[in-house]
Symmetry: C2
Subunit: 385 residues, 2 copies
C-alpha cells in the first residue's frame, strides 16, 4: 500500500463558541486544499469521520454538507466508529484510492461538542459503550476506565505519580502547539490534586470535550509520482475490533484490538515496531496512553509508566509520543481526533512543526485511534519518501 498525503489542515481545537460544525468543516477543508495547492474540482470523493452529529449538533447527513462546501456534487460519505471515526474515515478513503475508482480524496474528521447541555454530552459519548450491557446499568467511560486504572495499578505497581506524568508530558508538548485546546503547563502535583472524576482518575487524567475539525488530502501513488517531489505516504493501515462490552473480554488491561490492528498495519507496511520514530497514541484517559504504548508493542506490558516517567517518550527522546499534546492537551473533538493524529505525524515527517518539531531524521511514524473502550482500533503507518 502506498497512498500519498498531499495536504494537511487542522482548525484550532477548543471551546469555539463562535464556530458551528459547518464553519469548522469549511475552514478545515479549504485550508487542506490550500495546503495541497489544489482546487475543489480536483477532489473526487470525500470521507468524513463524525461520531455523534445527531446528538451534539442535531445533524446527520454531514456528507452532503462536506461536498456542498466545495460546491461539488461528488461522492461523499460519513464514517462512524465512535472516537475512532476519524481514523476509520481515513481508512475508507485509503481503500477508495486503492480501488482505482478515486484519484484524489478529501478525508475529514469533525465534531462540534460544546454547544449542548451536559446531559446530551454524556448521552452522546456513552452511546459508544454497549447499551445492552454497560450504559443501561449507568456505566460511563470515566467509571469504566477508572476500574481499568485501578486494576493496572494493582497488577503492575503503577504509581499515581507515573500516571500523572502522562498528562504532564502531553501538556508540555501541547504548550508548543498553537492549535491545541489547552496550552498550559501542569505538574505532577496539579494532576494528583485536581478534582476526582472517578477514583483514581482526576480531572487532569481526562481528555476534554472539544470542538474542532481536521482534514487530509490523499492521492494515488500514480498521481504522487507525477508530482516528482518528496512526499509522506501512508504505507500501512490496520483495523481490528473487540467485543463492545468490556465485561465480555478475558483481559481488561491488554487491548487485543490494539495488538491486532498494529500487527496488521506493520505487516502491510513490512516494518517492525522498532522502525517507528514517532507515534500519536489515543490518550482519552492517561492510563490509555500506557495501555496503548504497550499493546502497540513499544514496551513490555506493565513497563510503560516507568519509561514515561523517565522521559523516554518526551519530545526529544528516542520515541516522541503525542508531540501534538495528544487528546489530553490538543483536545478531543471525538470524530476529528483520528484525522488530527494523521495531520500531526505527517507534519512531523514533513518537518513543519516549528517549536515542537522532533528530530528531523525520523522517517516513519504511527497513529493509534480507539473507538469505545478498545472496541474498534485503527492504526496507520506513515513514511516520508
Amino acid at each position: 500500500m502506498k497512498v500519498g498525503i498531499l495536504g494537511l489542515a487542522q482548525t484550532k481545537f477548543g471551546e469555539l463558541w463562535n464556530k458551528s460544525l459547518y464553519d469548522l468543516l469549511e475552514e478545515s477543508q479549504y485550508r487542506a486544499l490550500q495546503d495541497a495547492g489544489i482546487e475543489p474540482k480536483d477532489i473526487d470523493g470525500i470521507f468524513t469521520g463524525n461520531m455523534c452529529g445527531s446528538i451534539f449538533s442535531n445533524q446527520t447527513n454531514i456528507a452532503s454538507i462536506a461536498s456542498d462546501i466545495l460546491n461539488r456534487n461528488i461522492s461523499s460519505i460519513v464514517v462512524e466508529g465512535a472516537c475512532a471515526s476519524g481514523g476509520l474515515a481515513l481508512r475508507a478513503g485509503i481503500l477508495a484510492i486503492e480501488s482505482g475508482y478515486h484519484d484524489i480524496v478529501l478525508v475529514n474528521g469533525v465534531e462540534k461538542m460544546t454547544d449542548i447541555d451536559s446531559k446530551d454530552g454524556v448521552h452522546g459519548l456513552s452511546s459508544a459503550l454497549s447499551q445492552d450491557w454497560e450504559h443501561i446499568s449507568g456505566a460511563t467511560f470515566p467509571g469504566l476506565i477508572a476500574m481499568i486504572s485501578r486494576l493496572y495499578m494493582h497488577k503492575y505497581n503503577l504509581t499515581r505519580d507515573q500516571l500523572s506524568h502522562v498528562s504532564v508530558q502531553n501538556h508540555s508538548n501541547g504548550l508548543l502547539n498553537k492549535k491545541a485546546h489547552f496550552r498550559k503547563s501542569i505538574t505532577i502535583d496539579s494532576v494528583n490534586n485536581s478534582t476526582v472524576i472517578a477514583d483514581p482518575l482526576t480531572l487532569l487524567d481526562c481528555s476534554p470535550v472539544s470542538d474542532g475539525a481536521a482534514s487530509v488530502i490523499l492521492c494515488s501513488e500514480r498521481f504522487a509520482k507525477n508530482l516528482n517531489k518528496e512526499l509522506v505516504y501512508i504505507i500501512g493501515s490496520g483495523n481490528a475490533t473487540d467485543s463492545l462490552a468490556m465485561s465480555q473480554r478475558d483481559n481488561l488491561i491488554e487491548w487485543n484490538a490494539t495488538k491486532v490492528a498494529a500487527k496488521r498495519a506493520l505487516g502491510m507496511a513490512k516494518i517492525n515496531i522498532e522502525d517507528i520514530g514517532v507515534v500519536e497514541v489515543h490518550d482519552a484517559f492517561s492510563i490509555l496512553q500506557i495501555l496503548g504504548l504497550e499493546d502497540l508493542g513499544f514496551f513490555e506490558k506493565g513497563s510503560a509508566g516507568k519509561f514515561i516517567q523517565d522521559n523516554l517518550t518526551s519530545l526529544n527522546s528516542k520515541l516522541p509520543v503525542n508531540p501534538s499534546g495528544g487528546l489530553k492537551s490538543r483536545g478531543h473533538p471525538v470524530g476529528a481526533t483520528g484525522v488530527a493524529q494523521i495531520v500531526e505525524i505527517a507534519s512531523q515527517l514533513y518537518n513543519r512543526c516549528g517549536d515542537r518539531q522532533i528530530n528531523n531524521n525520523i522517517k516513519i511514524g504511527m497513529t493509534h485511534n480507539v473507538g469505545g473502550a478498545g472496541a474498534n482500533v485503527v492504526v496507520h503507518v506513515l513514511k516520508r519518501e
Copy 2:
C-alpha cells in the same frame, strides 16, 4: 467494476417489539452467511449502514457489535448518509473489495426505530435536514416534501389519484412479500381519504417507521470466478450529492443528485437506462417515486404519474418498480433500506422471489437510495451473468 453477490438476507421489517438492534443484526448477518454457504471466518471486513443508532437506540460504535456477533476481530466500520446509509455502506464495501485489501465482505443495513418516543423519532429523522437552514425553522420531512408535491402537481398537472396510485401499486407488490412491514391491499380512495399528514400528503403517501436489518455478502471477481457458477454481480456504483438545504437549489422537483448518480452508475456499467429491467426506487413519500423514476431517466419529467397510473410499472409490466413493495409497503428502517433494495433486486435476478417474481428473462436491475431530500443519492446496477 465487477463485484459478486454471494449471499442475501433480510429480516422481517415492521414494528418488532421483541427484537433489539443486536437481535436484528445477528439474524440478518447469520442468514446471509447461511445463504452464501460460508462461515464467519471467511469474512474479512464489515460495512454497516446505520443512520441514527445514537438517538434511536442510544448506540453508536455498532461496527464493533457487527464483528462481535461473528466472534471475529476483523475490520468493521459504520457508514452514515441519512436514509442512504445502507446504499453508501454497500458502496464502501465495493471499494474495499476493489482495493484488493478485502476478498469477502459483509455489508449490513440496520435500524431499530420503534422503541423510542415520537419526539426522539422526529428529532432523529429531522437531523438529516439542514440544521442551519431547515430544521431550525421547524421544517420536517413531511412538510418539505408536501411543498414539493404541490409544486410538481401544479407544474405537471399530476392528479391526486395518480399520486395515490404509487402507494396502491407498492402495497400490491408488498402483499406478496413475506418480509414486508405492511401486507395489506389499499385503494386509491383509501390513500386519498387517509389522515392528512402535510397537505397534500396523507398517511398512505408516507413510508412508515420500521425496525429491520438486511445483509449482503460481496466477493471479488477473482473469488467469484473460482466458484464456477452463475452469479449476480454489481457492475455499477454511482454516488452524488446536492446542497443539504433544499432552499439552496435551483429546482426542487428535479433532483440533480439522482441524475448524476445514475449517470455515474450507468457509465461504470457501460449500459443505458433502457437496459434496466427492474428497479427499486426510494419512495419515502409517494411523490418521490415519481421524481426518482424521472430523474433516473426512465421517464420524461412530468410523465411518470401517468405511466404508473397506466400500470406500466407494475409487477408484470415492462419495467417493474419496487417489486418488494418499496419503502411504503416493505417498510423503511432508514439505515437498512439501501441494503434491502439490493437484496430485492439480486433476489429477483436470482429468480428467488416466489409469488412476486418478475419475468425471469430480466438480467439487469437497479437500486436508487436517497439520503435527505435529495442531498445524497447512491445508485447501483446489478447484473446476472
